[in-house]
């Protein structure tokens, strides 16, 4: 990662930069969504960042409605100088963002995957369709409010004798960690549910109730 790049970015595109950070040696610059493609082109052309490493997104649903929900991350590298930079931007639910396929061809599949997993539409993408899931799938799996065990089978399951699970067993039954129930959390309930039977029936309190690092 490189501090020089952050400095030049702030010099040349200072108006687009919202925040920079340097955590554990990773330099990141967050830019406005509308300058996403402009800054990417500048990185490729002026700074020879020709090697696309990754393009992905993270979902922070609790930021809404003040801040946009998704944070897109772009990782690029220069083959000549070995420098790296991480670029970020925030996109809201339903907002479009520019596609970077014209900047780096490798962004094609990366953006299709972000669309498939998060539902972020890309403006200008030549072939935006699902890539990891099938076309009939509804919903976007990596969003926090998509429950992990909601299956949408393409082939109807056969009836197999003796395999129905009895309630209250579920996939996390008896697991000791605090699983975040996102539905409840987004509805405003602050509880972090440990899905063990005792907690569900109210016999004991959930374990782990939050971060320990002074936040």
């Amino acid at each position: 990662m490189s501090k020089k790049i952050i400095d030049r970015l702030q010099k040349d595109h200072g108006d687009a930069v919202e925040e920079t950070s340097d955590f554990r040696g990773d330099h990141e610059a967050r830019v406005k969504a509308k300058s996403w493609k402009k800054v990417a082109l500048w990185l490729r052309d002026d700074l020879q960042m020709d090697h696309l490493i990754d393009l992905t997104a993270v979902d922070y649903p609790e930021r809404e409605p003040e801040e946009p929900r998704f944070e897109m991350k772009l990782f690029v590298r220069s083959t000549k100088t070995n420098e790296r930079i991480r670029l970020a931007t925030r996109v809201g639910d339903g907002e479009k963002i520019d596609s970077l396929v014209e900047v780096w061809r490798g962004a094609n599949w990366a953006e299709r995957e972000v669309f498939d997993m998060f539902g972020i539409p890309f403006e200008g993408h030549p072939d935006l369709r699902r890539i990891l899931m099938y076309e009939e799938f509804e919903g976007f799996p990596l969003r926090k409010d998509y429950p992990i065990d909601r299956t949408q089978p393409l082939v109807a399951y056969r009836k197999v004798e003796g395999t129905d699970k009895l309630p209250p067993f579920g996939p996390d039954e008896g697991q000791p960690w605090g699983r975040i129930d996102w539905q409840k959390r987004l509805d405003g309930e602050e509880v972090q549910v440990s899905p063990s039977i005792g907690v569900q029936s109210g016999d004991r309190k959930a374990l782990s109730t939050g971060p320990e690092h002074g936040e």
Partner: protein, 405 residues
């Protein structure tokens, strides 16, 4: 009465309407190493266009990681690039250790390096063996699998499992090396050399093999870089990028090894690069075995992140509490995000992790080298024939678990 024929001066005057034929290959197909679907548009036997459709092995790695603790990611991470599971384990462990700022003892780092390079050797052996088999040469496949079984014997001796062992831990490894580790590893190196030499003798002068791999599946440097390719695919086009040399991690700067770089970006270059990389990995392992401290812990002793000794857990209250908290709540790295990358079997394997300070990961993104390499496969295949799909696809070493996660 004579029949009346159209004036057929020349074949070219015949206007035969032709459209490209669409053929579906996969998702269950013997030539598809991983499980991939390719929709080919063919003009006769040449490929006009190919639509590669991955995703048939999507197993929800990233979503599953958000459900457990940090250490419970290791079994999932193992099954990413399942032919070299140690490399994924090490990659993830390094990412979380970077986030925490944790240093592990030297012996642990050397141990990780040696097991990781052994995994890399078995990855390349599998890829080359399977490529040879797909071209009809079954014998080198059997020889290389024989040798791979010996490597897996060592993995079993050390970790307890042949393939997906989940042996890495945040803060070190699950257990220290066994007593006969160095001897067992050195004992099989001669056999690996021998098997590779025999396979090369069989293949590299064979007219059929050369015709089917040379100048097939060419990829130019510009395309490779723009597509985000890394690893053997990029190095075979002539770009000298290996994460171990460019951004040395663990103790790779202490070892003296070369990085094989190809020239044309065709299947032949990739095949040769892989064999050369095996030899370089063996050299790294020899040096690491020399330099590794003979005794000492392999994991750090910070009980916030690493299980304390069982004797402490059973006899002291601090040990019990530390163990309890690690098992029930998981270790708690500070909130933040990092991207950490290592040289996986296929290229730059990166882990971008976001932590919210709790014992459960908030987001674990695996940057799969195969994903970008597979995108470049389309460029490699255009213009070639159907029969060239098999060697080209085999030489990419697309591992479904890593590609589709």
């Amino acid at each position: 009465m004579e029949p009346h024929y159209e004036a057929l001066e020349d074949e070219n005057t015949l206007e035969l309407p032709s459209e490209p034929m669409r053929l579906n290959m996969g998702p269950s197909h013997p030539a598809m190493h991983g499980t991939i679907r390719m929709v080919l548009e063919l003009d006769g036997e040449s490929i006009v266009d190919v639509d590669i459709q991955p995703g048939y092995l999507h197993r929800g790695f990233e979503k599953s990681c958000e459900r457990g603790t940090w250490n419970q990611v290791f079994p999932y991470a193992d099954r990413l690039n399942y032919v070299s599971p140690m490399l994924n384990n090490v990659g993830f462990a390094l990412a979380v250790e970077k986030l925490i700022g944790l240093e592990i003892p030297e012996r642990g780092t050397y141990y990780r390096t040696i097991l990781g390079e052994l995994a890399r050797i078995s990855d390349h052996l599998t890829c080359n063996g399977a490529s040879a088999m797909e071209l009809g040469a079954f014998t080198p496949f059997l020889w290389l699998i024989k040798v791979r079984d010996w490597i897996w014997d060592i993995q079993e001796q050390e970790t307890g499992a042949r393939l997906t062992h989940s042996f890495g831990r945040i803060g070190g490894m699950a257990a220290p090396p066994t007593d006969g580790f160095k001897e067992s590893v050195l004992a099989i190196f001669d056999e690996i050399d021998h098997a590779m030499m025999e396979s090369e003798a069989l293949l590299l002068k064979n007219r059929i093999f050369l015709d089917r791999t040379q100048n097939i599946g060419n990829l130019s440097q510009e395309h490779a870089i723009a597509m985000g390719c890394t690893g053997i695919i990029l190095r075979s086009t002539g770009v000298d990028y290996d994460v171990r040399k460019a951004y040395p991690y663990m103790f790779y700067d202490r070892f003296d090894f070369d990085v094989p770089v190809g020239h044309d970006g065709d299947n032949y270059d990739r095949f040769i690069c892989r064999f050369e990389e095996i030899r370089q990995s063996m050299s790294i392992i020899r040096q690491a075995l020399e330099q590794m401290p003979k005794s000492g812990p392999v994991s750090c002793d910070d009980v916030r992140y690493v299980y304390p000794d069982k004797s402490d857990v059973y006899n002291t209250i601090e040990g019990t509490i530390a163990h309890f908290k690690l098992v029930m709540e998981g270790l708690k790295p500070p909130p933040g995000e990092v991207y950490s990358f290592t040289e996986g079997g296929n290229g730059e394997l990166g882990f971008y992790i976001v932590s919210d300070g709790s014992g459960t990961p908030y987001r674990v993104r695996c940057r799969p080298p195969c994903w970008y390499n597979l995108q470049a496969c389309r460029d490699m295949l255009l213009g070639d024939m159907i029969a060239d799909i098999i060697p080209t696809f085999g030489s990419i070493n697309m591992i479904g678990g890593e590609c589709d996660r």
